[in-house]
Amino acid sequence: MLLTIDLGLIIEKLVLIIVVVMSSLVIAMYATYAERKVAAVMQDRIGPNRAGPFGLFQPLADGLKLFFKEEIIPNFSSKFLFILGPSLAMLTAMMTSAVIPWGDTITLFGREIHLQIADINIGILYVFGVVSMGVYGIMIGAWASNNKFSLMGGLRAASQIISYELAMGIALIALLMVTGTLSLKAMVVGQMDGIWNVIKQPLGFVIFIICVFAECNRTPFDLAEAENELIGGYHTEYSSMKLGFYLFAEYINMFVSSAVMVSLFFGGYDIPFLNDAHAVETYGQNWMAVWHIIMFLGKSFFFVYFFMWVRWTIPRFRYDQLMNLGWKKLLPLALINMLVTGAVILYFTTK
């Protein structure tokens, strides 16, 4: 026997991976619908309402349209890299969801199943690693397009992501000092029946959420696809489903980073004002897990909504403003936050 791993574990994880990937795809699909609806409602319009009741089939129609569009690959582009770009963007968008704790454990068929694909002890660093990989999807696609606007969009995206990664990392170090763990699961458990990390680290949270906006290339930091300057930005040359992958990856990123934010700062699947240990006894573990998942998704959806809300409120930053904000405001703020957190922890532990 080559593999001495429990077969049940493999099946369990496979099912979990498929469920997570499929549901994040569906959620991303309906996030496009939600984005249009939110935009419409905020601008006193109605939004998509023709395809199906309340326009609910609109994402399906959009997807079909993208599939049936003509696929154009520019003559002078590097074909392999041109295809690799959107695939990488999609892959990295999905990979982050591996370490997110969607809920506690459930017991099915006599097995205890953890609702998390992988609880690795460097969870949050893994998220960082994958996010830093996300740049390549954009950069490779931009370069392979052999178009100066694409290239400029790609360069903007890359420099923006690298710049904001620093402030984000340092804001998180302060959080790590508070929680004392890198595992997302352990962080959520630490917030259960306790104080959410957002109360312990308000400044860290503000820095983190701003950086997440920049990492996702969302307005007000969507300079990589500033239409009035760069045509379509890094995906100018893309058409058909390859364009769809880029657009889709953005929405998956949005959902996944909302989920990360929820598990880091907003107690993950913790239900506020409820004693979980007591509730598990009264309602049973499986029902509690279902409620946890609903709670987690609810919190994540709020942040997805928040992303859209901000998008339809705040205009795009100028490029120098973006860099100023990242390097001269957020980075020093994050450093100060880290120092103060360290000092406070030192004061309380040595007393």
Binding site: A40, V41, M42, Q43, D44, R45, I46, N49, V206, W309, V310, W312, T313, I314
Partner: protein
Amino acid sequence: MQALTSRAKPVDRRPMSLLERAYLPAIFKGMSITFGHMFKKAPTIRYPEQTRPFSPVFRGLHILNRDEQGRENCTACGLCAVACPAEAITMEAAERKAGEENLYREEKYAAKYEINMLRCIFCGLCEEACPKDAIYLSETFAPANFQRKGFIYSKDDLLIPNPVTEPEAYAKAKGGRVAVK
């Protein structure tokens, strides 16, 4: 210099305070505005299902009128064509034969009557010029067409349905407008 409008405000060029430079209060203000708009009613009219009522003075496609017995009013006098500032109307007159009294009200009638809807500016001067109450502007649009010749409306397109033989179609074509005699 005198201000052009009473609402002109001088530009505030004072350096921003720390709170203003922090951006966040302004951002929250903006976000509260957009959030407030979520609860406002959309003024959209869902067109094919809902339509806006036309104004009572709306001037749309022309119709050629008939009297109560279904006889055409038009006598091809040409006053409408003369009044038309866009020169959209052409017509040819013909004499009424014996036995056609139930078709045409007077001895002369329009054998051919054409309006070019691409030239027409829907000013309604033809309606004003007509001494016989023969031409009216109705409450409909000229529908889109793929060819120019589709916009030249002949007498068949313009004539109102016969009130004697097709009363329902006549009532529909007449619309809700009160006839001005």
